[in-house]
């Protein structure tokens, strides 16, 4: 087996692990974390495709590589927005739970800043 195939299999496992964490972890921060872990697997898959497309004197196909760079920046922007939304939810309701009943229960004693 070549190193590229090895990293391809790694990418598949990372996507699976991230998806599992995204479903199972109840805390929103852990969901964000799992989603980023999943994203790492997806980017790695693109990296494997880029490596296999090596040619024209380059170590990898630059188009998927550029895609990953763009993707990393957008993923950061999305993560930052998600984290700020979560912090605002916590500030407003005193809980970070995404459950409707948890929010309704806390609504009565809403924490004002």
């Amino acid at each position: 087996m070549s190193s590229v195939t090895l990293f391809g299999l790694l990418a598949a496992l990372l996507v699976g692990l991230g998806l599992y964490g995204l479903i199972v972890h109840p805390h929103p921060l852990r969901k964000i974390l799992s989603f980023n872990l999943l994203g790492g697997g997806v980017f790695l898959l693109l990296g494997v495709v880029a490596r296999r497309g090596a040619g024209a004197g380059l170590a990898g196909d630059p188009v998927p590589q550029a895609l990953v760079i763009t993707g990393l920046v957008v993923a950061f922007a999305g993560t930052a927005l998600a984290v700020m939304l979560l912090l605002r939810l916590f500030q407003e309701s005193g809980t970070a739970s995404l459950r409707a009943d948890a929010l309704a229960g806390k609504d009565a004693k809403k924490v004002d800043r």
């Binding site: 190193s3 090895l6 990293f7 391809g8 990418a11 598949a12 496992l13 699976g16 692990l17 599992y20 964490g21 479903i23 199972v24 109840p26 805390h27 921060l29 974390l33 980023n36 872990l37 790492g40 898959l45 990296g47 494997v48 495709v49 880029a50 490596r51 090596a54 040619g55 024209a56 380059l58 170590a59 990898g60 630059p62 188009v63 590589q65 550029a66 990953v68 760079i69 763009t70 990393l72 920046v73 957008v74 993923a75 950061f76 922007a77 999305g78 993560t79 930052a80 927005l81 984290v83 700020m84 979560l86 912090l87 605002r88 916590f90 809980t95 970070a96 739970s97 948890a102 800043r113």
Partner: protein, 314 residues
């Protein structure tokens, strides 16, 4: 088995181990630390895959900046953990999630094993016109010329994310300063670090952005380092966050996309299409766009980290 392959096997085992740690740790804080390490191990994988530009971006944004953002959030949300842990799904949901994840991962494994030989590649197309742009780094060539529209839109996405984060502010503090006020002992250790390290860091950031034209590097990792140095001085209390109503701040936020767009529109008249560079001026124009982008990336990433305004700007 060659030494390089042995290294790759060890690296793969390490990435998998760290990923499982990230998911299995009970406390959020430890999980976030493990996630930052996960980004670091991925950086090594990117180098092994012959993608040093991606490795630089992953080290800067994927590991460093995301890690710091989540660390701060985990610390602020610590009190919520115990209550939410009680909401953990039961065994049935867990088994179903595991089966679903295994199916998805298995499908990707099959896809990886069935990748076509010879692999399709856009590398010859990307390299073909590289000489005309005067760039030596093919990835920068793709980002700035071959697929320039993607890069322009990405800048706009980041800008929209900044506006979305700002819109979470309480209306009483609109236009104020993001984040808490950090007070610091002027002679303290942290303030010392925040005065000594940024000069080195800013030189390194500008260097990495500058060599991106010909060697691995570029505006993203360069801008991220500058953003990190800026935030370091803020966290140490050496400098305060500027109020978001500041004119200079808003100028810095928009200068990158604005220059990019202006150069792109000029393409209609002096070249033959939107975002087309006239061959004689391609390199200077690309460098001009990159300079604007480094500034905008540094400021917008810094502001995304800092969050919505929390206190009045006076």
């Amino acid at each position: 088995m060659s030494w390089a392959f042995t290294f790759d096997v060890a690296l793969t085992a390490l990435v998998l181990g760290v990923a499982i740690w990230t998911l299995s740790l009970r406390e959020n804080f430890g999980a976030v630390v493990a996630f930052a390490v996960y980004g670091l191990t991925l950086t090594l994988v990117w180098l092994r895959l012959g993608a040093p530009d991606v490795a630089l971006t992953e080290a800067a944004i994927g590991s460093g900046l995301t890690g710091a953002l989540l660390l701060a959030a985990a610390a602020r949300l610590r009190s919520t953990e115990a209550a939410i842990a009680a909401e953990s799904p039961g065994g049935g949901v867990r088994v179903a999630a595991a089966v679903l994840s295994a199916i998805v991962a298995g499908g990707i494994v099959l896809a990886v094993l069935a990748l076509p030989v010879p692999a399709p590649s856009l590398a010859p197309n990307a390299v073909a016109d590289l000489a005309a742009t005067g760039l030596g780094n093919a990835v920068t060539g793709v980002l700035m010329a071959y697929r320039a529209a993607d890069t322009l839109l990405e800048k706009v996405v980041v800008l929209i994310a900044v506006i979305a984060v700002w819109s979470l502010a309480d209306s009483r503090v609109w236009g104020g300063r993001p984040g808490p006020a950090h007070r610091a002992e002027p002679d303290g250790a942290l303030a010392f670090l925040a005065r000594r390290l940024p000069p080195l860091g800013i030189v390194a950031g500008v260097y990495i952005a500058w060599v991106g034209a010909d060697m691995p590097g570029g505006a993203f990792p360069g801008g991220t380092i500058i953003a990190a140095m800026w935030l370091l001085t803020i966290m140490a209390g050496v400098k305060d966050t500027p109020p978001i109503s500041s004119r200079g701040l808003r100028l810095a936020l928009t200068v990158g996309p604005a220059v990019f767009l202006a150069v792109g529109l000029c393409g209609f008249f002096i070249a033959d299409a939107f975002l087309a560079y006239p061959v004689a001026y391609a390199k200077p124009l690309i460098v001009l766009v990159e300079v604007g982008m480094v500034l905008t990336i540094a400021v917008s990433l810094g502001l995304l980290m800092a969050g919505p305004p929390e206190r009045s700007g006076k």
